[in-house]
Structures are given as structure tokens and as C-alpha cells.
């Protein structure tokens, strides 16, 4: 298991190196430099030379890349805000030892993963850590601050979308499988086909125009907002008002990201449930006279829900793409929109930082999903 994780991490590192090299060399191929935009401003004239030297743009490309790589991976500041991180890590280790030693149940693996998720969250949220990711070329300030100030919005959007897709998609697929070839099942199949064939931006714009704009125009009810994450007067609202305001802004973009994934999860869950429903042990369960509900809930559901973990991890890359598109439609102040802005202005440090954050996130999530899959399904062995 440890060897497997190590190997995956090494491959992940190689992928990240390749990703950074590819994107960096692509950015080098642009006709003009990143200072073209600044050169248009006559008052910037005297500073161009200075900035070129400061940002190392006069160096050959490979030197710039090495400098970037060194800076990107160098910790600039690392300090503990309090003793909680140490307590969390020690506690996590102790809990892992206890679980491994004294618990012999099937849920042991899941408990270990859960303990470490909580421990790492506590540790990270009570630590101040900064990497030197450089300064934005387009004058937006320090890249590290910029990326993390926007990350929260994207996490909120992405997690909501994932939750919507899972909470609706999985039960939908199970229901379709249990009532195979019923009218509802056929409807779901057609719906999934249409969802797969509809680009996210069409869903996003359609939802925005119909539910946020025209609904208000036609009925006078303001149910959803067209853009943004919160109302300008957000800080003066009551707790209830804040929640309602957040949901009014959040639901439409989250649904537009979630819809296609939702259809995918339902299809996948349906297929996996059907496979289990036709398996021998389920026939045995039925033959020995268990009630239908018990057969489905106790025997079929548990096994049929394991494979969705893999699908979710594979789907994350798609969701990130969806977030980039949806954020630019709904004016959501997240990483995706920042990325579009950075690319448009060819802002090297910002583009590189965001691409790498996305790459790192995907690789970690894939490894976590693989471990989780093995934990949930004892038949899986890593070698």
C-alpha cells in the first residue's frame, strides 16, 4: 500500500513537471512579451527596462523556467499559529495506531482515512504557510495571495456542484436500475443523452437568462441573481438573510456545473446497480426469502455504490473545466475567472500558479480516490 502510494506520488511529480514545462514553453511562444500591455502606457516607459530585469525576462527561457521552478517550490514562510497542528498530527498518528492494532472491522480503513482528513485539515488551517509564487505581471499583486483569496469561491462552487450531482445522481441511477425499462428509466436515459450532448456554457447561459433574468421580468419574483457571489449589502444582513442570499447566488452556477456530471453518475450508478442485481449472491438472497427491500438496501446498495468513487475522481477534471466556463458566465469571483483573465493578459506567474494548483489538486484527488476505493472494496489489492 505504502509502495503503491509512493509510486503514484512519483508519477504525479513527473506529470506536474511535464505540465509546468509544457505550459511554460507554450507561454514563451507568444509573439510579444508580457510587458506589451504595459508598453502601451507612455508613463510606464522608464520602468520597462527595470521590470524586465526584475522579472528576469532578459534571461534565456530555460533559465527563467529553472528560476520559476525553484521559487515555486520554495517555502517562503512557515509558522504555526498555535499548538493545534502538532496535536492534530500526533493525535492522527495515535488514532491510526489504535485503529490498526485494536479494531478488526471492515470500516477500519475508512476510519483511518477519515481521521487523517480531519487531522490534516486542522493542521493546515492553523498553519501559516507561504510559497514564493511571484508577482502578477498585470499588476494584480502577489500571486500566492491572489490565488488563495479566490480559491474559497471555487471550492464553494465545486463542492456544491459535486454534492448536487451525487445527492441527486446516485439515487436516480439506483431507482432507474431497480425499475429497469420502466417509463421513468427510459426518461432518465433520454435525459442523460441530452445532458451529455449539451455543452456547459449552453446550460449556464440558458439557466441565467431564463431563471435569473426572464423569471424576474415576467413574474416579478427575484429568485436568483445573474452574477456575483454575494450582494453588496451582504455584511449587514441577518444570518437567515445571508444564507438565502448565498443560495440565490450559488444555486444556478452550481447546477450548471453539476447537471452533466449528475447525468453521468446516474448512468454509471444504474449500470453498476444492474450488475449487482444480476449477480449470484443477490439471487441467493432473493431465493432464501429475504424481503425485496432488504435485498436491495442491504445486499445490493452497498456493493453498487463503491465504483462511483472512481468516477467522481475522474470527473473532477471535467468539473474544473466546467468551473472555468461557469465562473466566466456568472461572474463568479473564483480561480476559473482569474485564470481566463491571466491567460488573456499572458500573466506568466499567475497562469503557471493556477495551472499547477489545478494539476496538484487533480493528482491528489486521484490518489485519494484510489486509496478510498481499496478501503471500501476489500477485494482490491495494490501491488
Amino acid at each position: 500500500m505504502l509502495a503503491y502510494i509512493t509510486r503514484r506520488l512519483v508519477y504525479g511529480m513527473v506529470t506536474l513537471l511535464a505540465l509546468s514545462a509544457i505550459v511554460f514553453s507554450l507561454l514563451q511562444m507568444t509573439g510579444g512579451g508580457p510587458l506589451d500591455r504595459l508598453k502601451l502606457n507612455p508613463r510606464m516607459g522608464p520602468y520597462i527596462q527595470q521590470l524586465t530585469e526584475l522579472w528576469g525576462l532578459d534571461q534565456p527561457a530555460w533559465k527563467q523556467y529553472m528560476t520559476w521552478l525553484k521559487n515555486y517550490t520554495t517555502i517562503e514562510e512557515l509558522s504555526l499559529q498555535n499548538a493545534l497542528p502538532i496535536i492534530a498530527i500526533v493525535g492522527g498518528a495515535a488514532a491510526t495506531y489504535g485503529l490498526v492494532k485494536y479494531v478488526r472491522r471492515q470500516w477500519k480503513g475508512l476510519a483511518v482515512v477519515g481521521v487523517w482528513a480531519v487531522a490534516l485539515f486542522v493542521a493546515v488551517s492553523n498553519t501559516t504557510i507561504r510559497f514564493n509564487w511571484g508577482t502578477s505581471f498585470s499588476g494584480s499583486g502577489d500571486v500566492w495571495d491572489l490565488v488563495w483569496s479566490r480559491a474559497g469561491a471555487t471550492f464553494r462552487l465545486g463542492l456544491t456542484a459535486l454534492a448536487i450531482a451525487l445527492i441527486i445522481g446516485v439515487p436516480l441511477g439506483i431507482y432507474q436500475a431497480v425499475r429497469q425499462y420502466s417509463f421513468f428509466d427510459q426518461l432518465g436515459t433520454i435525459g442523460a443523452f441530452i445532458a451529455f450532448s449539451t455543452p456547459i456554457f449552453i446550460i449556464g447561459i440558458a439557466l441565467q437568462i431564463l431563471l435569473a433574468l426572464y423569471l424576474e421580468k415576467w413574474t416579478g419574483v427575484k429568485l436568483f441573481y445573474v452574477t456575483g457571489m454575494n450582494d453588496p449589502g451582504y455584511s449587514d444582513m441577518s444570518a437567515m438573510g445571508k444564507l438565502v442570499d448565498t443560495l440565490q447566488h450559488l444555486i444556478l452556477p452550481a447546477v450548471s456545473i453539476a447537471l452533466i456530471s449528475l447525468a453521468g453518475y446516474a448512468r454509471f450508478q444504474r449500470a453498476s446497480m444492474l450488475e449487482v442485481l444480476h449477480s449470484d449472491y443477490l439471487r441467493t438472497a432473493k431465493a432464501k426469502g429475504l424481503p425485496r427491500r432488504k435485498v436491495i438496501v442491504k445486499h445490493a446498495l452497498r456493493n453498487a455504490m463503491i465504483p462511483i468513487v472512481t468516477l467522481v475522481s475522474l470527473d473532477l477534471a471535467f468539473m474544473i473545466g466546467g468551473a472555468i466556463i461557469t465562473e466566466s458566465i456568472f461572474g463568479w469571483p473564483g480561480i476559473g475567472r482569474l485564470y481566463i483573465k491571466a491567460i488573456t493578459e499572458i500573466d506568466y506567474p499567475l497562469v503557471m500558479a493556477i495551472v499547477m494548483v489545478i494539476g496538484i489538486g487533480l493528482i491528489i484527488m486521484n490518489i485519494v480516490a484510489d486509496i478510498l476505493y481499496g478501503v471500501l472494496d476489500p477485494r482490491v489489492r495494490y501491488d
Binding site: L19, G31, Y181, F201, I209, I325
Partner: protein
């Protein structure tokens, strides 16, 4: 196929023929096409896609025949005012467009279909632009499909047929390509593509560049599928028999394994074509795809969305519908092909 012994002397009379019961041989193709024909949606989709393909290929001819207009020129009325955001209507013969020939402004009558689906913000015919936009979308779909099919098959079959070092290195490379986040990388390439000076201009701004970009990023999935097929097929008895009969690697791969691995390749390529059209549209929507003035459905949805906010819904609705319908048809066709190419499947459709 020659019957055994059929070449020597007279052809032996088949007993069935002698009895007047001649049997038509049922080939794999017959089985496939009869199964495909039973998939009603796939058949409708095939007809639709063929129609679309014909229209799109003939678009320049239709333009010169005067059935549709120039997709880059604004329509004007009899007084020379640009007809912006005109709602869909049948032609009333009052629509023109102007062209500058020898520094003289010449006014031509626009085609009868000019305002069939309305006009956009710059007064251009939405109907014409949708037809020309289909050119970009289908070019991207087909070129990407071709690239993915060839790259995926070559990499996958090499890795699957030669285990060990070749397999390992090729699959590591495939993993690496699959590990790249597709849309963020595609956006970077789409942004800088027009500025790469050593590339010919049709790649820099046209659909070919975008198609190649998507193709080079998207072949990994197919390579894995082909490799898995090869791994299982190369252990089969018929391959062993062929080898025992003295067949070389070439013959085994091209006559025995590849034909049997064809069905996942065909199905996967069909689905990739649909996905590529969506990705191209998304890139054009964000402004990193095919560059204006070449019309694309993605860019039309983007522009049309801004007009739809003001109540001019037609550009967005029609271009979006064209996009969704086309991709839907491709996906239905892929589904039909999957059913038809899988001989073990029994079709339970009504």
C-alpha cells in the same frame, strides 16, 4: 472467399443449390447493418448527420448560387442602414448587402433565406452563419476524430502487442498526457496559437489548429482501451493458431487482432468526435477557439447570449440548438454503433 477445393477442376454443385434452396451467406457486415438499422434513433441521426455534412460541404457553392449569404457581411435595407437584431422572418425582398468593388460601393440583393433565422448584432444572417459555423464544428470533429483514432490505435496496439519496455514507456507517456487537465491546457494553447509565427495561418486561426490541439490532448483514453483489447486478444487461441501456422507479427496484428479490436475503436472515436465539437465550442465561447470572423457555433452562443439578455433570443437559441442537435445525433450514432458492433448483445429495444 474461395471454397475448399473450389479451385480444382469444376466447382462442385452445392447440395442446397441443387435442391433450389440456395442460401445467401450472412456476413459480419450484414449482421452489423441489420442490427444498426433496428436502432431507430441511430438511423435518424445518420440521416441528419449526412444531410448536415452535405449542406456544410456545399456551403460555398450555395453562397455563390445565391441561396445563402456571405457569413461575414452585414445585411442592409434599401436605405443602406444595417439590419441589426432583426427577428426571424420570411424574406420580403427588401434585404441587401453591399460590397466594395474597385472602390465603388455596389449593392446586391441578399438571398431569400437571409432573415429566415434573424440577424445578429452586426446585421449578419444567422441562418448563413449557422451553416458556415457547422463547417468549423464538423472540421474540428472529423480532424480530431481522425487524429485520436490514429494516435490511440498506434500507441495502444504497440503497447498491447509488445509487453515489457515498449508497453511500460508508452503507457507512462499516455498516463502523462491523460494527467494534463484538458481545458486549462487547451485554453493556453488556444490563446497563443494565433501568435505562433512559424505555423501556417490556416492552423493559427482556423479550425484545423483547434482540432489538432484537442486531438493531441485527447487520444489517451482510446490508447488505453486499444491496449486492453490487444492484451486480451493476443492470448486468444486464434492468434496462437495463426502463429503456429507461421504468420508474422504484421499479419497477426493487421489480419487477426486489429479487426477484432475495431469495434471499441469505432465507438470511442464517434464519441470523441462529439466531445471535440463540444470542446471547440467551449473554447470559441471563451474566445480562445476559432478566431473571428470565421463563424462558429460556440462563438455565436456567446454573442447571442449577450443579445438574448436584451430580448434578441434567436441567435443564441438557433446556434445552441444546432450545436446540441449535432452532438446528440453523434452520440446516438455512437450508441447505435456500440449495440450493433457487439455481437453478444441482444437488442431489447421496442
Amino acid at each position: 472467399m474461395t471454397e475448399p477445393g473450389g479451385d480444382i477442376g469444376e466447382a462442385p454443385v452445392q447440395p442446397d443449390e441443387a435442391l433450389g434452396l440456395a442460401v445467401e451467406p450472412v456476413t459480419q457486415w450484414d449482421l452489423f447493418s441489420s442490427r444498426l438499422r433496428r436502432h431507430r434513433l441511430a438511423m435518424i441521426s445518420t440521416v441528419f448527420l449526412m444531410l448536415l455534412m452535405t449542406v456544410v460541404i456545399l456551403a460555398p457553392a450555395m453562397e455563390s448560387a445565391g441561396w445563402i449569404d456571405d457569413p461575414t457581411k452585414g445585411l442592409v435595407d434599401a436605405n443602406g442602414r444595417i439590419l441589426r437584431n432583426i427577428s426571424p422572418r420570411a424574406s420580403d425582398g427588401e434585404v441587401f448587402y453591399t460590397e466594395i468593388i474597385d472602390s465603388q460601393q455596389v449593392t446586391f440583393e441578399a438571398s431569400p433565406t437571409a432573415l429566415l433565422l434573424g440577424s445578429d448584432d452586426l446585421g449578419r444572417s444567422v441562418f448563413t452563419r449557422i451553416i458556415f459555423g457547422g463547417r468549423a464544428s464538423l472540421t474540428v470533429g472529423l480532424v480530431t476524430g481522425f487524429l485520436v483514432a490514429s494516435l490511440g490505435t498506434v500507441f495502444g496496439s504497440l503497447a498491447g502487442f509488445y509487453p515489457g519496455g515498449v508497453d511500460q514507456s508508452l503507457m507512462r507517456f499516455t498516463d502523462l498526457v491523460l494527467g494534463l487537465p484538458l481545458l486549462p491546457v487547451a485554453i493556453v494553447v488556444g490563446r497563443i496559437l494565433p501568435e505562433i509565427e512559424f505555423l501556417p495561418s490556416f492552423i493559427r486561426t482556423g479550425p484545423f489548429g483547434i482540432a489538432m490541439l484537442i486531438g493531441f490532448l485527447a487520444w489517451g483514453g482510446l490508447a488505453r482501451i486499444v491496449r486492453a483489447e490487444f492484451l486480451s486478444l493476443r492470448e486468444k487461441e486464434f492468434v496462437e493458431a495463426a502463429r503456429a501456422a507461421g504468420a508474422g507479427d504484421n499479419r497477426i496484428v493487421f489480419r487477426h487482432i486489429l479487426p477484432n479490436a475495431m469495434s471499441p475503436i469505432i465507438v470511442q472515436t464517434t464519441l470523441i468526435i462529439g466531445a471535440a465539437i463540444i470542446i471547440e465550442a467551449a473554447l470559441s465561447f471563451l474566445g480562445f477557439g476559432v478566431k473571428p470572423p470565421t463563424p462558429t457555433w460556440g462563438a455565436m452562443v456567446s454573442q447571442g447570449g449577450r443579445q438574448a439578455v436584451r430580448g434578441f433570443w434567436w441567435e443564441m437559441v438557433f446556434s445552441g440548438a444546432a450545436l446540441v442537435t449535432t452532438v446528440l445525433a453523434i452520440n446516438f450514432l455512437g450508441d447505435g454503433l456500440r449495440d450493433a458492433l457487439d455481437p453478444t448483445q441482444t437488442i431489447e429495444r421496442k
